[in-house]
Each structure stands twice: as C-alpha cells, then as structure tokens.
C-alpha cells in the first residue's frame, strides 16, 4: 500500500509542476495580450516614434528587428549547415573533432552579454564595421550558430545510412551523394531547428546593445552599415530609461506584444513545418 501512496504523490507532484509551467507561459502571454492589444493600431505599427519614443509608432524597431533576423539567417544558416555537414558526413572521430564539438557546446553556454562585448570588440571596433546591421547580425549569428549546427547535425543523422550507401553503390561521389540524396531529406529538419534558434535571437537584447541598436532613430536604415532600432532594445529603453513610466505603459505593452507575436509566429511556422514533414518522411 505504501508503494501505491508513493505512486500517487509522485504523480501529483509531476502533474503540478507540469501545469505550473504551462500556467506561467499562459499567464505571460495572457498579460501581454490583454495589456498590449489595446495599444496596437495601424499608426502604432507604421509610424515613426515621437517624443523620445513615448508617443508615435514603432515602425523603425519592427523593420530593424526584421533586418537583423534576415542578416542573422543569411550568415548563420550557411555556416551552421556547412559545419554540420563537415562534422556528420566528412570528419572521422578524432581529438580534433572532439575539440570542435566541445567548442560548439561551450559557445552555446556563453552568456549573451559576452557575445555583445565580443561583437563590439571584433566587428564594431577591430573590423571597423561600426555599430551597424552587419555587426549586429554577425554577433547574433555567432550566438545562434551552436543551435543551428546541433539542429542540422540531428537532421543529417535522421537520414538513414542506406540512403548514402544506395547512392554510393550507384557510383555517385561523396558530394553528389550528400547533395542529391542526403541534404534534400535533411534540409527541412535543418531549417525547422534553425528557425527556432533564430526566433530566440530576434528577442535578444544584450548582443545588440553595443553592436547595432539605436536608442532613437526615427528613420529607416539605408544600408547594412546603418544603425537600426530593434524591438527588444526599444522595449528595454521604454521600460528603464523613461521618466513617465505610467503614461507610457501602453507603449511598453504594445511593443512587447509585437515582439511576442513575431517570435511566437516564427516558432509556430517552424512547428507546423516540422509536423507536416514528419508525416511525409517515413523511411
């Protein structure tokens, strides 16, 4: 009987903890939607900020975040996929590859503010890109690279070896095999995993503070060497650097709501993509 009791208690605790997590996520979303949705208007989404951001819209921040995501994808995706192909398809287990893997997992554990300072040191100052979309995208790319490599490797591992053998046995070269009979099946999985990582990068503040983010720049960027506003940093500004906190509450929640919609939207797209894929690819 004591066994049965333990069983019930364990079940209860696990149930409680699980629903606590769901509740917290639900509460955060609920709170932001309830307080943020009323602030959303066509003007809020399409106008320049006015009076240091306490009035007007958040268009430059939306556009800025959009550009940063595009830049990060353009840099990190090819690098990450290429690394994963090297690690999974070409390299043989050795001390060297073990060090690469150690490096990747260490990179994944580096605090984001450290990436920010690193990006400032290397891209902004040493390479002379200045605070710019380029420097910010490169910094964010460094941050999401481990996620993309790991996701891409998993996707490559999911392709059965019989696909590789079948292709090689027909006289295909290694690269032909990878390009024609491994990558096409792994690519959707790679993209899904990578999108989840990039969605997170869109919401990061610390890496962009020193590398790209403008406090207030009520115009749209003109080149990749231009600074931009970005939603997370704009939110940080509104929440900490403004004297009249109560009057700009709607601005804060409105910005948070837009950021949340973008990040969750990206995740939802990735999840739908993945579930459709799982149904399609049965070996």
């Amino acid at each position: 009987m004591a066994k049965k009791k333990t069983e019930k208690i364990v079940y209860g605790v696990i149930w409680f903890v699980t629903y606590l997590v769901v509740f917290m996520v639900g509460y955060i979303i609920f709170d932001i939607v309830i307080k943020g949705l009323p602030a959303i208007s066509w003007g809020f989404l399409t106008q320049m900020p006015a009076k240091s951001g306490s009035q007007g819209g958040i268009l430059p921040a939306i556009v800025g975040t959009f550009y940063l995501v595009i830049g990060t994808v353009a840099i990190a995706l090819p690098l990450g996929i290429a690394s994963a192909i090297y690690l999974n398809e070409y390299s043989k287990p050795s001390t060297f590859t073990r060090m690469i893997r150690l490096g990747i997992s260490t990179l994944a554990g580096v605090p984001s503010i450290v990436f920010g300072l690193f990006g400032m040191g290397l891209f902004v100052l040493a390479l002379g890109f200045g605070k710019s979309i380029l420097a910010g995208s490169l910094t964010l790319a460094c941050m999401v690279l481990p996620t993309i490599i790991v996701a891409s490797e998993e996707a490559l591992k999911a392709v059965p070896d019989s696909m590789r053998e079948g292709s090689l046995a027909l006289g295909a070269t290694k690269w032909q095999t990878i390009y024609k009979n491994v990558l096409p099946y792994a690519l959707p999985g790679m993209l899904t995993g990578s999108i989840l990582g990039i969605g997170r990068a869109a919401g990061e503040t610390a890496p962009i503070i020193f590398t790209v983010a403008a406090t207030l720049l009520p115009r749209l960027p003109r080149s990749i060497f231009d600074q931009v506003m970005a939603l997370p940093y704009h939110l940080y500004m509104l929440a900490t650097q403004m004297p009249n906190q109560t009057t700009i509450k709607p601005m804060q929640y409105g910005t948070a709501f837009v950021l949340l919609v973008i990040v969750l939207g990206v995740d939802v797209v990735a999840i739908i993509f993945r579930s459709r894929l799982r149904r399609k690819n049965k070996w």
């Binding site: 043989k92 287990p93 059965p160 019989s162 696909m163 590789r164 053998e165 079948g166 292709s167 090689l168 046995a169 027909l170 006289g171 295909a172 070269t173 032909q176 024609k180 009979n181 099946y185 690819n281 049965k282 070996w283």
Partner: protein, 265 residues
C-alpha cells in the same frame, strides 16, 4: 537432400573469369575478418556465397565494389582483379568501379523519390540529362527488373509506396540503370515473403548470362536453386568453392558437408 538449379549451366570447361580474387585479407581495425581468400568468379554466371552468420561472406561481397571503404579503420591486403584491373590499385577510380559493379542491399532501400527518379538517379549522376534518353533507360531497366507492368502507370508515385518485394525489384532496376557488368546482391530476399522471394529468384535466373551475379544468401536451398557456383565461407576463410551441383552433392570438405546438411550454422 540435394536441390539443383533448374537450368543447367552452359557446358564450358574453362569459364571466362570476371573477378579474380588473389590472397585477399581484410581487417576491421585489428580484427582480421577475411583470411587469404583466393577465388575466381566466372563471367555471366551466378555465384552464391554461403556460410553461417559472421563468416565474412557479406564483408567479402562488399570488398568487390569497395563499399567497405566508407567504414573507417578498414584495411585490405591482396588483390582483386576485375576486367584485368586491380581494383585496389591507387589509380583506380572508385566511382567507375561502382558503376561497373552494381549492388543490391539486404533491406530494400528505395530513395524517397518517385519511381522514375529512383531509376533515373544513377544515369543522372553519370551525366545523362536528356529527358527522352532517361525515359528510355528507366523503362528498359524496369522491364529488365520485371516490375514495369506493375508500375508503368504510376512512375510518379514514391518508391516507398511499393510493397517490399516491389521495392527490391525497383532497387534492382535502379542498379541496372547504370549498365553494370557485375551485380552484387547481399541477401536480397531475406526481408521478403516467399512469393516475393520467388520473383526475385526468377529475376536472377533471367539476368544470368547478361550479368555476372554474386549473391550472399542464408538460405541453402536458394543457393542451390539460383547459382552455378557456390563458395562456402567459415570464420573468415573460404573453405570450398566450386560448381554448385558438386558442392551440394560431393563436397570435398567435412565442414562444407556439415554445413549444407544442416549439422551447424
């Protein structure tokens, strides 16, 4: 009990040799999997490799198109001469070797592409782009693999939608599409039901003569039914090799006799 192939092999005393294996040793790391194999595979005939699990017959098969190369830490000593070229010589192009020596695997492995694209995969790899030419090759290969009638109206569906037996014949068609001289088969029917197995065996009988076929099988009746020559492997050694009829009626070696009469294995 003895069963003999239902076709009598052509009566040639000195058959032309397609694959000449000379003193072949094979190592996985430090473990030696094949010991001093010497064997001459006759052209245009079916040669069966039999023996208990782990005897090295599959490893041997995979040395013939260098598929073992893709496993790390393997090493080959000795020579395998195919069409008067040592396939382990440094100047050998593995791609050209594998084009000449096709392979069919134990588990059918159609690519998750259409039936057409599965068969066209090899020719495309080797540079054929012309659509009409590809169509012609696909049809010819599927006809040759005795699956054309079953799939001719649905070449666009995924190869994965076919039954196991059909998938294996699709894989044979895919191997034939690059026009090999030699076909290696690694227990091609072991994952199939008896009816599908029958069809694969019929197909082997039909391909015999046009292709040199080397087939690994667990099933001694199958070896007796489909092959002209049989090689018995045991613990990495080639124990006995000769005409199937003779191996199954008058084996020279005690171990061979024990194995084919079912005393072990």
């Amino acid at each position: 009990m003895v069963m003999i192939g239902n076709q009598t092999p052509p009566q040639i005393d000195e058959p032309e040799i397609e694959i000449d294996v000379q003193n072949l040793d094979f190592y996985y790391g430090k473990h030696q999997a094949l010991h001093d194999i010497c064997m001459s595979v006759p052209k245009g005939m079916v040669t069966a490799l039999i023996g208990p699990s782990g005897c090295g017959k599959s490893t041997f098969l995979r040395t013939l198109n260098r598929m073992n190369d893709i496993i790390g830490g393997t090493r080959v000593e000795g020579k395998i001469v195919i069409q008067s070229k040592d396939i382990y010589a440094p100047n050998i192009d593995v791609v050209m070797l594998r084009k000449r020596v096709g392979m069919v695997f134990q588990k059918p492995n159609p690519f998750p592409k259409s039936i057409f694209e599965n068969v066209a995969y090899g020719p495309r790899i080797h540079g054929i782009k012309n659509r009409a030419q590809l169509q012609e090759i696909v049809e010819r290969s599927l006809v040759r693999a005795a699956i054309w009638d079953e799939v001719k109206d649905r070449l666009h569906i995924s190869g994965l939608e076919l039954s196991g037996g059909q998938q294996q014949r699709l894989c044979i068609a895919r191997a034939l599409a690059v026009d090999p001289d030699i076909l290696l088969m690694d227990e091609p029917a072991s994952a199939l039901d008896p009816r599908s197995t029958q069809r694969i065996e019929d197909l082997i009988a039909e391909l015999r003569g046009d292709y040199t076929i080397v087939i690994v099988t667990h099933n001694m009746q199958q070896a007796a039914r489909v092959s002209d020559y049989t090689a018995f492997f045991y613990e990495g050694h080639l124990i006995e090799f000769g005409k199937t009829e003779r191996i199954f009626t008058k084996p020279n070696n005690k171990q061979t006799e024990d194995y084919i009469t079912g005393r072990f294995g």
